[in-house]
Amino acid sequence: MLPPKTTNDGFPTPTSLSQSETEEMLIKHIPDDTSQKKPTLDKKMHMSFLVRNLVQGFPERYISQDASQPWLLFWTVQAFSVLQVGLDPGNKQRIIDKVLAWQHPDGGFGGGPGQAAHLLPTYASVCILAIVGRPGPGGGWDQIDREKMYKFFMSLKLKDGSFLVAHHSEVDVRGIYCLLMVATFLDLLTPELVEGTASFVASCQTYEGGFASSSHPSYSLSGDVLPPPAARPPLGEAHGGYTFCALASWVLLQPYLELSQEKPTIDVSNLLRWLVHMQGTFIELGGFKGRTNKLVDGCYSWWCGGSFALLEALGVGGIQNANSDEVPIDSGTGDGVWDDVDEGLYNRMALQEYIIYAGQHPTGGLRDKPPKNADAYHTLYCLSGLSSAQHHVFPSHLRKKQFLDSWKSSDSTKDELRKRSFGSILSWIEEEGASHILGGTENRLNATHPLTNLTITHTEAITAHFYEQDVPAKQRSAPTPTRAAAATA
């Protein structure tokens, strides 16, 4: 039986009409009950799509992304990582050489050689180097000019704690996420750099619960930020992409906030509510939307679906955050005992169905929705979203303690913030035996780190290098308290 269409209450409008058209299209992608075909992620076909982009290059229409060359390459090489494919040393070196050609003489990376430094390509460039780079001459890591990078970051900072994405450019939370991520990897976090930033991020939360692109600074005539209750309204509505960036920034700022007098807050309950409502219904195959009353799109599998893991760092969801493992519920489901609180707060199986049934393009690569073409961007974020729906990656108290215990101290006065940031970013591990993979293990993808969208191995290696620390061997990663029931794949 097909799931019901979204009601228009007998009152059609442009929004309900385009919703209805989309549902007509998606419904064709729901396999009928009699089909014996297993849901299959066509890894080989997606590999060919990626290899074609990497080796042959991108067709002419990608001129529109000439200022995003680091992104095109990041989406491609990270998609390889998620598909559990490593690159050979020759290709790795060519990629490193290309990335280094984007570094700006005054710090940061641009969208291509000779382009101005910009926070977004800076993030993408550093992430590529995390995947393919190494320490030493020609390896990429030690050729990043960290001192100039820091000066570049500081030159973009505004008085309300926000950052321009580039000189004379806009402010938004994408740039802040990119800056914080890079600063965390490269050991550049200082109180000076991030003072006021958390308050700015908090001010971008809208009444809906999700986050907007930016907020209005409310400068006074003198250029100072007006004290509360001066209005600091969000610019634009709650949006999946900005919500991921804001939430990830918020999590990245926690080590600083623990040590600081600044105590801004966000409404986590309202954020959770907004996020769960972004998941489409069964006729939309459980894909995610990016805004209220908009259409589902494969990329929000990561931006919205991936946000749930981040909420665990704020005490919402996951077994570590359960107050008790035996709370009776009476919803008439199960046996009345809550034994699987760690399965997440959204429908992970349904999201996997969306990506597998609607997100795959028949000739390779992944996409927004049928009948659209595949592209590099949607290929990565559909795969990352799928990975995030398959695996449970969480911030382990045990793993964090391991890193903190093994911390090699320097005499630096900013040691406490460095140590906490290091322990915090590397505390994320995959819960063993907790994968839920639609279609079986052939569809398994590598787990990705919920904050970095890199694999945990890549995240650990580059971070340990810049903090000059070791990565202790993983203990068995079962979270506490012990799971009541083993999950089935």
């Binding site: 001129i63 009444y207 509505e237 009476d330 429908n347």
Partner: protein, 368 residues
């Protein structure tokens, strides 16, 4: 002077007035993976652009060059950035708003914004320009036209909100350098929202703008009586809901204003109850009651409405006590098993959380 603007067959390399510049190739000494297949025109223009950035030249011909690149790739942020720096260096200080270079730039932006509606840079460049021209009303009029084409364009909306906040908000600065709030800018905003919501009551961008105008930016002239404003907005949202109940945009607005004004959800239980049950039970209860503050669902509405069920459960959970919690749990159970099965995990989470609260356990904090 001949200008190289359009996609004619000449390249910058062929133009005598560019003969003094030596173009710079993109990748020197690197055999790049994942190349983009550029057109000859794009390669030519960007080769000259790299040369100009290196030399630091800021002249009128740079405006031609950057316009050429932007028309081929409107997301070339470096071309925009360099264009802005060039323009500023060519303008006198202070700049009369009638300066021909400035006027030409504004007109060009009007054209490009329509062509490249979804590009960050076209909107940001306007933002930089309006800080020189200081003509926000012209921008609001322009945006109004743009939103008729694409009524949910994120950049367009956030630009409109920035204009209002920058020129019409606390701390805004007038042409004369005084701090002043331009109340006139706000005069037609609510009418504008009304028009858009009359066209599409599900347009979430328009609802967000309504919240921005009425609640998020402080208090406008004539809106000082907040109780009256709240009452007006509640009726507005309720009427929108009665037209098409399963509209999360309207419910989110309703929830948003209640939270913003610290008004308990329980004050709207009567309203929401008419939407939260199958039609038969609603009709039996309320058929003969005419209550303007609690408009009933339209005859074609699909009941029960999940948003109303959720609203009631939230209201009851806050009220607390065994009886109310039980009622909330019943509602969440119906959502989990019948009306909104996709979000089953979430509704079960709410049930669990409410039980913990009831048992005096540590309920989840709402802020972090």
């Amino acid at each position: 002077m001949p200008r190289k603007l359009d996609f004619d067959d000449s390249l910058f390399a062929d133009l005598p007035e560019w003969a003094d510049v030596t173009p710079v190739e993109q990748y020197e000494g690197v055999n790049p993976v994942a190349p983009i297949f550029y057109t000859p025109e794009y390669t030519d223009a960007t080769n000259y652009f790299r040369a100009i950035v290196q030399s630091g030249e800021k002249s009128e011909r740079v405006l031609d060059l950057t316009e050429n690149i932007i028309r081929q790739n409107p997301a070339h942020y470096s071309a925009w950035q360099y264009r802005y720096e060039t323009l500023v260096s060519l303008l006198p200080t202070p700049t009369p708003s009638s300066h021909p270079l400035l006027t030409a730039e504004v007109e060009l932006m009007d054209e490009l914004a329509v062509l490249f509606l979804k590009t960050y840079q076209v909107w940001h460049h306007r933002r930089l320009l309006v800080q020189i021209t200081r003509e926000p009303q012209r921008e609001l009029d322009f945006i109004k036209k743009g939103l008729q084409v694409d009524s949910k364009n994120y950049h367009t909306w956030s630009y409109r909100q920035w204009i209002l906040g920058f020129f019409g908000g606390k701390g805004s600065i007038s042409k004369e350098g005084d701090e002043e709030i331009d109340e006139d800018l706000w005069a037609s905003e609510l009418d504008f929202v009304d028009t858009l919501l009359a066209t599409d009551v599900r347009n979430n961008s328009a609802w967000h703008h309504r919240f921005f105008v009425v609640w998020a930016c402080g208090v406008r002239e004539g809106e000082e009586d907040r109780e009256r404003v709240l009452k007006r907005e509640l009726i507005y949202a309720k009427q929108a809901i009665s037209l098409a109940p399963s509209n999360p945009s309207a419910w989110n607005y309703l929830r948003g204003i209640l939270a913003h004004t610290n008004t308990p959800f329980s004050s709207l239980v009567t309203f929401a109850e008419a939407y939260a049950y199958p039609r038969e039970s609603v009709d039996a209860k309320q058929r003969d009651i005419v209550d303007l503050e609690n408009p009933l669902p339209s005859e074609s509405a699909d009941l029960p409405c999940a948003e109303a069920m959720e609203f009631l459960a939230d209201a009851w959970e806050v009220e607390g006590g065994q009886e109310k919690i039980d009622a909330a749990v019943t509602m969440w159970t119906a959502l989990a098993n019948e009306r909104d099965v996709m979000r089953k995990k979430y509704w079960e989470h709410r049930i669990r959380d409410a039980h913990l609260g009831l048992r005096g356990g540590q309920k989840k904090t709402t802020t972090a």
